[in-house]
């Protein structure tokens, strides 16, 4: 009956039934068996949560490492050790709150039953730490998502019905749409029970820097945009397109290695880490490149002497419309730059300024 005082989310460490690892099922016939043995269990939205309970963390002061590991799957809002939670000897229990349910899902999927500094992690959802508002939000998001997918499907079917009314066509159209959605929502559940065979093919691990947006879209943007913006010469873009992916990898790597200074890990685009002078330098070079290409496309192999620096050839503004605007401006600038006016030279005179000491 006491409800109001103990509402604090970070209290009441209790062992609930769903925290316990259920024994896996050995009696499933082969064809219904997934790649991993699983318990017979039905997953609903009620069981899922942005809160994860991590058991079996060796008590050897590896909190930073643990949080770094989990931060790979998305922004962590809060975390703490559950001292009061009954733990096995020499292990600790952690509570981690992700910003998004999809991150928690990906994290759980990839870390549960994995070894970590000599211990075996047991990761489960901890919805009992949610507030009423968390619960409400979770349900609303789920409903919205399901409706979106279903409506998309209906639309798609309508479209194809207009095109051709063959009954067998349904299979060809159904596949492509939800696949996108799936990446966005980060499916796990269908496989959860026994049909795991089913989903493990999906490369679910999202790129951490893209937490703000659905990962698939982020990747797409990097792919598509560089190709679109400088329509002039495809020549250069083959390598501009490769560059962003390289940057992303580096970024996610450094992301994982960064010491956990704060509670949240804010994903920052790699461009920001570039030292200022290098940044100016690269911008200047880009302008020059542009001039070259606009003047003489075939000639652009000649001016490059020595190895190319692995700098991102273009600034990604992290937003589609910003990118479009940036491209418009860039194109304008290159147009203006074709009129002989030596902007780079001007910059050369301005940059040495800070070096004048005394």
């Amino acid at each position: 009956m006491a409800s109001s005082e103990e509402c604090s989310v970070w209290k009441t460490p209790k062992v609930y039934k769903h925290h316990e690892q259920q024994s896996v099922c050995y009696t499933r016939p082969k064809y219904r068996e997934g790649r991993r043995l699983r318990a017979v269990k039905v997953y609903t939205i009620n069981l899922e949560s942005r809160f994860l309970l991590v058991q079996g963390v060796p008590a050897i002061g590896v909190m930073t490492e643990l949080i770094q590991l989990f931060a790979l799957y998305g922004v962590i809002e809060e975390y703490r050790v559950l001292d009061e939670y009954p733990a096995e000897q020499f292990t600790e229990v952690y509570l981690i709150k992700f910003q998004k349910l999809t991150s928690a899902r990906a994290a759980k999927r990839n870390t549960d039953e994995k070894s970590f500094y000599g211990g075996l992690l047991h990761v489960c959802y901890a919805p009992e730490y949610e507030t009423v508002e968390d619960t409400r939000q979770k349900l609303q998001d789920r409903r919205r998502y399901v409706n979106r997918v279903c409506q998309n499907k209906v639309k798609q079917i309508d479209l194809t019905n207009e095109k051709s009314i063959t009954p067998s066509c349904s299979n060809t159209l159904r596949a492509p749409i939800p696949q996108n959605e799936e990446e966005e929502y980060g499916y796990e559940h269908n496989g959860q029970n026994s049909n795991t065979s089913c989903y493990s093919g999906v490369p679910l691990l999202p790129l951490p820097p893209q937490e703000g947006h659905p990962p698939s879209k982020g990747a797409l943007r990097d792919r598509i945009f560089p190709a679109e913006d400088k329509m002039g010469s495809l020549h250069q873009f083959t390598d501009t397109r490769e560059q962003p992916t390289v940057c992303l990898k580096q970024d996610s790597f450094s992301h994982g290695n960064r010491p956990a200074s704060g509670k949240t890990f804010n994903p920052t685009p790699s461009v920001r880490f570039m030292p200022r002078p290098a940044h100016l330098e690269s911008r200047k070079r880009k302008m020059e490149d542009k001039e070259d290409t606009s003047l003489d496309v075939t000639d652009n192999i000649a001016p490059i002497i020595g190895p190319k620096l692995p700098e991102p050839p273009k600034i990604d503004m992290e937003d589609e419309s910003l990118n479009i605007t940036a491209n418009l401006i860039r194109n304008k600038i290159t147009k203006i730059a074709t009129v002989p006016e030596l902007k780079p030279a001007e910059k050369n005179t301005t940059t040495p300024k800070p070096r004048r000491r005394i």
Partner: protein, 202 residues
């Protein structure tokens, strides 16, 4: 056999689900039934499958499970309905086949997971037309009791139900009832191995 589900095209998927339904109907052992039912209920989590599951009348299959004596079957059945009812068409199907009283019956289950699924399902089933049914006096009273529960999940979910799906008058009325000790049986766990009996109206 191990072909990934994502590799399954629409018709293969349908055939697979159809196979599961047939197998469920032919299964003799309770264990096999539980496994297949859990399987189907988990498939219902994916919106891509909802249409196929509706076509295969899995909605009714789930509803049938709610009156089983085996509590596992009840839990998986209502779990499946909880997943399925997120979709509007499935929701309509459940309401039209008089599923609401059956779902309400699950509120009296001794199992938390069953009760939680039932609450979420009732939320999903609530529309302008079904409102009077899904939030009748005994349900509101039951939610009021749940909102004082020690289990935070139950408490939260019941609070959402009261705040978002009931009018203030309804809640107020239920409060008065509670103080006046006029109780209803909905939401009071039934003893094991007894099928659900319809509760009396307050």
């Amino acid at each position: 056999m191990m072909a990934g589900r994502d590799g399954l095209s629409g018709s293969d998927r349908f055939a697979y689900l159809q196979g599961l339904v047939t197998e469920f109907q032919d299964a003799d052992s309770e264990e096999a039934k539980e496994q297949i039912l859990a399987n189907l209920a988990n498939f219902a989590y994916d919106p891509r499958n909802m249409e196929d599951l509706r076509t295969l009348q899995v909605t009714e299959l789930f509803l049938d499970m709610l009156t089983e004596e085996n509590q596992n079957l009840v839990e998986f059945g209502i779990g499946g309905l909880c997943n399925l009812s997120m979709d509007q068409e499935s929701r309509n199907q459940i309401v039209q086949t008089d599923g609401v009283p059956l779902v309400m019956g699950c509120l009296s289950s001794p199992r938390d997971e069953t009760v939680l699924s039932a609450i979420t399902t009732l939320m999903n089933l609530t529309t302008a037309t079904s409102h009077s049914q899904t939030t009748n006096g005994s349900v509101v009273l039951c939610m009021l009791r749940f909102s004082l529960s020690e289990n935070p999940r139950l408490r939260n979910l019941a609070s959402v139900f009261l705040q978002d799906y009931c009018t203030e008058e309804q809640v107020e009325k239920a409060r008065e009832h509670m103080q006046g000790h006029i109780q209803s049986a909905v939401g009071i766990p039934l003893p094991d191995n007894k099928p659900f009996l319809d509760s009396s109206q307050p």
